[in-house]
Symmetry: C2
Subunit: 1000 residues, 2 copies
């Protein structure tokens, strides 16, 4: 019998009620997720325990598909569970709950896929996973770290089931509409018409002006509530703000920069709500803190083994059992252990050992050290004590100082020795340290080894407050056959490991360190990453060949997939031929990025994805299951269903979008606010068109290029209002290119549109579009007072600045940024005067400097050049290259000082002196003058020309300083000499400021 939505809900309620959860109710205002319900948002704050489970119909306007998509809806049913504090086995409880609703882990592929959950609107984040059932995300599993800007202590476990998807998966259904809600009524009977209507409302009918007013009213009410100290009413209005924001967003009414403003407001309100709630709970003296005191786990009472029985070298095993590590964290941990283990053994513990093996899977990190010595060697150290004269009286009797010292070192005063060191006599104690048993020191040291592992993002989960990539759940630590029962993160090491998830993680007793690899292998686990990669690569290639294709298998994808499984099992899936008509970018993006599948091309494929140059895709892909071959067909069907649904979704968008020409979308840019003061994206696009006209000659475009650039700029932003891009923002530009081609635009125009978001566009028309875009943002946002500050750069202006200078450098186009910024400034609807323009240029120069330094140029060289010239990036790059070469010359230490003398003596002179050649009185000054006069007075930024000129002057300069007193008593003589030197110093103008160089 097939499952019904209703039976799933009732089963989950019963399951979690039995596990001690309070069963709550959905919230009474529209929320995007169960997280927003105060039963989560507020209750996870503060120290009180809280276990709750409830259904939450969650409203996400932009997921509406008019009821046409089989599993994408503006409203979906979540089942939300909060476990606070972490019960220690939340993943296992979750998997049990799946069994309670009929999901047998042996018949499916259940995967925990890294997911760093973040909800900026409520200033919340956590680490955990998406849980996939045969490729379908069915649950979000998160250890909340922060909510409402507040760090959580204890951490809460949040489990959010997607009930609709579970229903589809359980019934292996193509679409949800015909699945049972209960025995008599179908899901579609209840919900399909409502999906159509709400989609139509959110996408077409909702009145933007009125929704904006609602938002403002809600915000004002929320603030009034906060001012009155009311948490829940304030929270209600924050939720209403959030939903209204979503509705506005769905109408395309939220601009890129405006979004940040909204987020900022909502985050701030959410933070205040959370703060006030914490205060309130404190005032109420935490009424739910009944169990406090019981929370801490009892210290384990294991009796340690008699380590002295270990006398011969034997193997050391450390297995660190974890919940599923992110792929990159697994690599990072292995790399760190490979260094840290030998370091620990050799340097800190002084234990001899044989080879060290480090390997791991998502659920375990394993270290095996062969032939570890049973004991440390003994050791003697001579420890210095007080001065000899203070240690012994004239009669040779030890003073209290000597007695105390001797006692502290465990020797008798008599054993103290007197030695001469550092020009004095001191007493010394010879401290003998017997080598300790390896087991003993390991028990002390292993916690530090684990604690020393660091990750990009780490998390807390229990009262130990230990941070790790994901929760630590067990340790196996064996020296030979002996357990090393170290304690860390609330765990005590033992000999129990756990097997594969699909087999319900059975306990595995590790009899001895040496037996470990065999036991692991017997249990079906492939411990070594490269072995897993090889297995996968072989299987993928074999399956690809079976349908006459070759896999797109970039190494990073292979490495990632290998790190997602403990037992890889590749299998072939397919999708409907008709989806091949979708843009390839879309197909590949969905398969690789979303699903971690290997896409297949017809034979001849190279793995390169440059469009139009490679053989077509096949309607197939390779999945890698975690597990064995049992029930593979079910797993395949599930995965095929998922990818089919995703493609159907994309096809729906592309079909809808393709009903119009790309140009037709452009006017709707008026509904997207770029930034309040700077108008809509249509306004921005119009400015870009004008700016592009100004840039074309500056970039030296040909007439056809100019026309292509103009057209491309005109169309460049139109794809932002297409459904496909609204849905998958990462396809912006790519879809513009695709739709441009479908609309009959010239290929060059389409290409330019497609290149606009590349760091460095390939074509010159593409460069024009990119520069117009970036310069407009920089100038406009600076003028609007929204320059980045500190680490905050909400509008990505640093990236825009880099994207301005880098292509100019790589294309080696001589281009004056100053003129370009000025041109852009004239087009802005807000005042962007010289001060703003200077600020913009300065900011861009800063990025240019960073870029050059990152490119390997020494900071002083870069600074010197940029102090001299900065507004022409290509020229600056050339100058940096040249200067770097000069600085590297062996004679540089003769060149720079000569020039520096000229600069140093003049740089504090406020006055600029005129040189009167007739007034020179001494030969060297006259010689120098003539040498100077023989050189050009400016070099157009060319460092070589400038320094060659300096080089030519060096003999004359040196003679001048040797023979002539610059600071002559006669003021006019002095002025004349200074004037001459000033002229030499000025040769660097527009080239570089050599005073920035080391050694100046």
């Amino acid at each position: 019998m097939s499952s019904s939505l209703q039976s799933i809900i009732l089963q989950l309620q019963n399951f979690w009620a039995e596990k001690g959860c309070l069963i709550g109710q959905p919230y009474y205002t529209q929320v995007g997720a169960g997280t927003m319900n105060p039963a989560t948002f507020l209750r996870v704050l503060g120290p009180e325990p809280w276990h709750v489970a409830y259904v939450e119909p969650s409203v996400r306007p932009d997921d509406g598909r008019y009821g046409e998509n089989p599993n994408r809806f503006q409203l979906h049913y979540q089942f939300q569970v909060i476990l606070k504090p972490d019960p220690g086995n939340p993943v296992e409880l979750y998997l049990q709950s799946l069994e309670a609703i009929g999901i047998n882990p042996r018949e499916h592929d259940i995967r925990l896929v890294e997911d760093n959950w973040e909800q900026p609107a409520i200033s919340a984040w956590g680490l955990g996973w998406e849980i996939w059932l045969d490729g379908q995300e069915i649950t979000q599993f998160t250890y909340f770290q922060q909510v409402g800007g507040q760090s959580l202590d204890p951490v809460s476990v949040e489990i959010t089931y997607g009930l609709d998807r579970i229903l589809i998966a359980l019934n292996n259904a193509a679409a949800i509409w015909d699945e049972p809600w209960n025995d008599t009524v179908k899901y579609g009977d209840v919900r399909r018409q409502e999906e159509f209507e709400h989609s139509k409302y959110y996408f077409e009918i909702g009145n933007v002006e009125r929704l904006r007013q609602m938002y403002d009213l809600y915000k004002a009410e929320a603030e009034a509530c906060l001012a009155a100290g009311l948490v829940l009413p304030a929270h209600d209005y924050v939720l209403k703000c959030s939903h209204t924001f979503n509705a506005l967003d769905c109408r395309g009414a939220i601009g890129v920069t405006e979004r940040q403003v909204f987020y900022g407001q909502m985050r701030e309100m959410a933070r205040k709500v959370a703060e006030r709630y914490l205060e309130q709970r404190k005032e109420l003296e935490y009424p739910l803190m009944k169990e406090s005191g019981e929370q801490r786990a009892e210290k384990s009472q294991t009796v340690p083994a008699d380590y002295s029985l270990i006398t011969a070298p034997c193997s050391l095993l450390l297995e660190i059992g974890v919940e599923e590590l992110p792929a990159s964290d697994l690599d990072a941990a292995i790399a760190q252990l490979k260094t840290a283990v030998p370091g620990l053994l050799d340097e800190e513990l002084r234990l001899e050992h044989g080879p060290v093996h480090v390997s791991g899977t998502p659920r375990r990190l394993a270290v095996l050290v062969e032939a570890l010595a049973a004991r440390q060697p003994d050791r003697s150290d001579l420890v210095k004590g007080p001065a000899a004269e203070r240690a012994f009286g004239p009669d040779g009797i030890p003073t209290p100082a000597a007695i105390g010292f001797a006692k502290s070192k465990g020797v008798t005063p008599k054993e103290l020795q007197i030695r001469d060191v550092e020009g004095g006599r001191y007493v010394f104690a010879l401290v003998k340290q017997a080598g300790r048993p390896a087991a003993e020191v390991l028990v002390e040291a292993l916690p530090g080894l684990v604690a020393g592992l660091k990750f990009d993002k780490s998390m807390r989960w229990n009262a130990s407050k230990v941070a790790f990539s994901r929760p630590l759940r067990w340790f196996v630590a064996l020296l030979g056959e002996t357990v090393l029962p170290f304690e860390y993160a609330g765990l005590t090491a033992g000999r129990v490991s756990r097997g594969l998830r699909p087999y319900n993680s059975p306990e595995m007793l590790i009899s001895s360190a040496d037996a470990y690899f065999d036991i692991i292998k017997e249990n079906g686990i492939v411990l070594d990453g490269s072995e897993r990669q090889a297995l996968i690569a072989e299987g993928v290639q074999r399956l690809a060949a079976s349908v006459g294709g070759a896999a797109i298998m970039p190494p990073e994808l292979l490495a990632e997939v290998a790190n997602l499984v403990e037992r890889p099992m590749p299998l072939l899936g397919s999708f409907k031929q008709e989806f091949l008509s979708l843009p390839e970018d879309v197909l590949i993006s969905v398969m690789k990025k979303h699903q971690r599948y290997f896409p297949l091309r017809t034979v001849g494929a190279t793995g390169s994805v440059a469009p139009g140059q490679v053989p077509p895709l096949l309607p197939n892909f390779v999945i890698v299951r975690n597990g064995d071959e049992h029930a593979l067909e079910l797993v395949r069907q599930g995965n095929e269903h998922v990818v089919g649904a995703r493609f159907a979704d994309a096809a729906f968008f592309v079909r809808e979008d393709s009903k119009h020409k790309l140009e037709d979308f452009r006017p709707r840019l008026a509904t997207l606010i770029f930034q309040k003061k700077l108008g809509s994206l249509l306004d921005k696009s119009d400015r870009m068109v004008k700016l592009a006209e100004a840039l074309a000659p500056m970039l030296g475009l040909t007439e056809p290029e100019r026309q292509q650039a103009a057209r491309a700029t005109y169309l460049s932003k139109a794809d932002l209002v297409t459904r496909m891009v609204v849905e998958m923002t990462s396809l912006q530009g790519l879809m513009g290119r695709e739709y441009a081609l479908r609309s009959g635009e010239a290929p060059e125009v389409a290409a330019a549109i497609g290149e606009q978001y590349l760091p460095v566009p390939h074509s010159r028309p593409g460069l024009v579009v990119a520069l117009a875009d970036r310069l407009d943002s920089l100038t406009g946002l600076f003028a609007a007072g929204l320059a980045p500050s500190g680490t905050k750069d909400p509008f990505g202006l640093r990236r825009a600045a880099i994207g301005t200078v880098q292509p100019l450098m790589e294309h080696a186009i001589d281009f004056d940024l100053g003129a370009a910024v000025q041109a852009s400034a004239r087009l802005q609807p807000v005042e962007a005067g010289p001060a703003v323009q200077a600020q913009v240029l300065d900011f861009i120069t800063g990025r240019l400097g960073v870029l050059l330094k990152d490119g390997g140029y020494k900071y002083d060289v870069v600074d010197a050049v940029l102090a001299g010239q900065s507004s022409r990036p290509a020229a600056a790059l050339k100058a940096v290259r040249q200067l770097a070469a000069w600085v590297a010359r062996p004679d540089w230490n003769t060149i720079l000082p000569a020039y520096a003398r000229c600069v140093r003596i003049t740089r504090d002179q406020p006055e600029r002196f005129l040189v009167r050649p007739e007034a020179f009185v001494e030969e060297p000054e006259r010689t120098l003058y003539e040498a100077v006069a023989a050189q050009p007075s400016a070099f157009g930024g060319d460092v070589d020309a400038f320094l060659n000129a300096v080089l030519a002057l060096i003999p004359a300069i040196n003679t001048f300083f040797d023979k002539v007193l610059v600071m002559a008593g006669d003021p006019s003589m002095r002025a004349n000499r200074l004037g001459l030197l000033q002229r030499i110093a000025a040769l660097a103008d527009g080239v570089a400021d050599l005073s920035k160089l080391e050694g100046f």
Copy 2:
């Protein structure tokens, strides 16, 4: 173990899921009740079956009590069930569900208390009950008749459990806060702080201006959705309108008349949503109509008994089994049966019979007819046919006409007889009709008997579309021992009756009609209403005496209570002494009106409740349970808890209110809109103060009275913003009086405030307040264009008009309404010119006329007087009385004609002629002139004076007409005579228009 909220919910979900209900979820926007969830509001519309159950956290801002009241909250948990169509036993299913959550009917008093559910904001109504558990309303049970203005077919059964109250009742708790939500968390832990905060928000913080704006925005969005044909998005916004309206109301921002405007808007939107939904379902071809065809019950296949076996007279029993009838409907049905049954038997069925007994309880109407004849007597009728000459040829052979007639009457042509009638000869047929068995005719006739019962409000419930007070559920129909299996309302009569609810309505087999009364009695049912009344009265008096008191037992309460039970069991309850400090009106109102308890006074009580004149109340009351003495203590506790909570609620209000003087509330009247054009209630109150000043002299008040009236008018409306009155509107005025006294106002002032809403205030200051109020409303609302139209009178202006004239008549105060309306008109903020004033006066006069006619005066007399004088009600009343006396005089037929001649001959004369006495030429005209001149020319409305004058003129009038030709040829002579008669006719001016009288 005590029940938890969570376990109750899970049990109810399981119970109803097993009964085939779809388990739904609470709605995602704030609703006042589960009814508003589209799973109810929409799904009950149209023909499709629908069975659903869901929890609905229901938000009612004005029920907020800051978490201080033990069982009154701004949010409470409903469990909503919809059964469509009616399954035939919904009450029984409901009672089973109570057992499923642990409520044993034997241990409680479960009562179905009439409730005519109505929700004007969504244009919905239905009939059903509040279900009481030991005096606590725990469920609303309704047969929906109309929703969104649409008649429902089929009817839906709505069961709305109040989960919070059930939790309290199940655990016999004093307050909900410490009751378990689940095993570890208390209800209060989850909800108490939230109650405080939301109460504070709704009562103090919510910004009226912003809430109004939200309402307007929602309304506009709802209309935009409707214009686009979107049902659910529109419905969502209607719900948001509704919630926002509630929030505004809670802030006291909705005026009396404005409320109607809001309701009108919401009703209109709800109606459109419902209409559009019906269209949509039709377009979708009713996807849920799978079971159609199966719905109709199979016609029963009972084989009728052989009625010929009944030969001797025997008793007839008809028991009509119903779900609980309202008390008044029970009386009405019994009264109708007492007439209808003998009528049916005697006239229609011609069945001889002995005494007819009719009695009943809320669940059954019983008719027992003794000694009913077994058969109708035979009967012969002579039926007239065609004329004899057309029936037989000259040869005596019957014509086709005769043959046809004979055939149609079942006789042979030879049997036709010829008789002389009505002056002609006709053929006749003697038609013999054999008497039919009584059983046979009864089976045919009984449906009509039941169908003939009529009620003020009746309802449909099943596919039979029969209407009755409440659903018919069984019929017992026996003639002697024989079942009369008539069919009606989808039921077939049999011999199975049902017993008492507390015993789970066991089936009772009625062996014979004569055994009925005994069986009923054996089963504990008291069938006769007066017997129940006597039992109750005796018990109440006994229990009252047991605490030294006497009961307040008005006959209508006794009669009602006796009609609420089948087996009355009085028991004594008590409440906390401290509540006696509450105003008596509040206490009595709660006990009598809300709870149907008998309040008790200390001995000496009379039952009269005029304040201050009677002995004080006791902290006791008498409850009447339906059932026996089992577990009486539980029932008592439950009831005491309920009344205690209600008093606590009232005490909370009175305490809060009493923190301020009555006068302090007055400024807040500014937040209550009276009507948009007419301003706030403060504006109205200010106008009343000015109008009262003008009225005082017109009503002849003494100076102290004038001062009291002024003060009372000033304070009169202030209680409308007190919490107690906001909560129980029926206490308006009464609480004003109470709070005035507590504020130190003079007793006369307090009394006047208290009297203002009485139809006829006792005191003159009270009369001033009432008149100022009513005249202001009439004049203002007419001027604002809101005069009543047709049957619509949303502002109660008919009542206001009656309330204007009635006290003036009863106090016999001579008072000119015209002047008063003029004074009021001058105070209005809108133009209220002469035309409006005339309209108002006309409207008041219309009500005066109705009142007088209702008072027993003949319409012609009333019309005659009001045509002559109407603006002085007291005078008009006197005039009507006088004229009625004159009309009753035996000589009236000599008086009226004489006067009438004068009027009739002159009334068509457009000109008014001057009388020139010197120009009379004949004696009779001169005599008449002199007689006229001897009488007064005006009578100040005094009919007696006027008609005495007429009486004195009669001889002269009669002589005049006998001797004088009025319409003389000489124009001047004619004019003079007409002028004389015009003068006589004009004597009636300002008195009456006698031409309106019969016989004129």
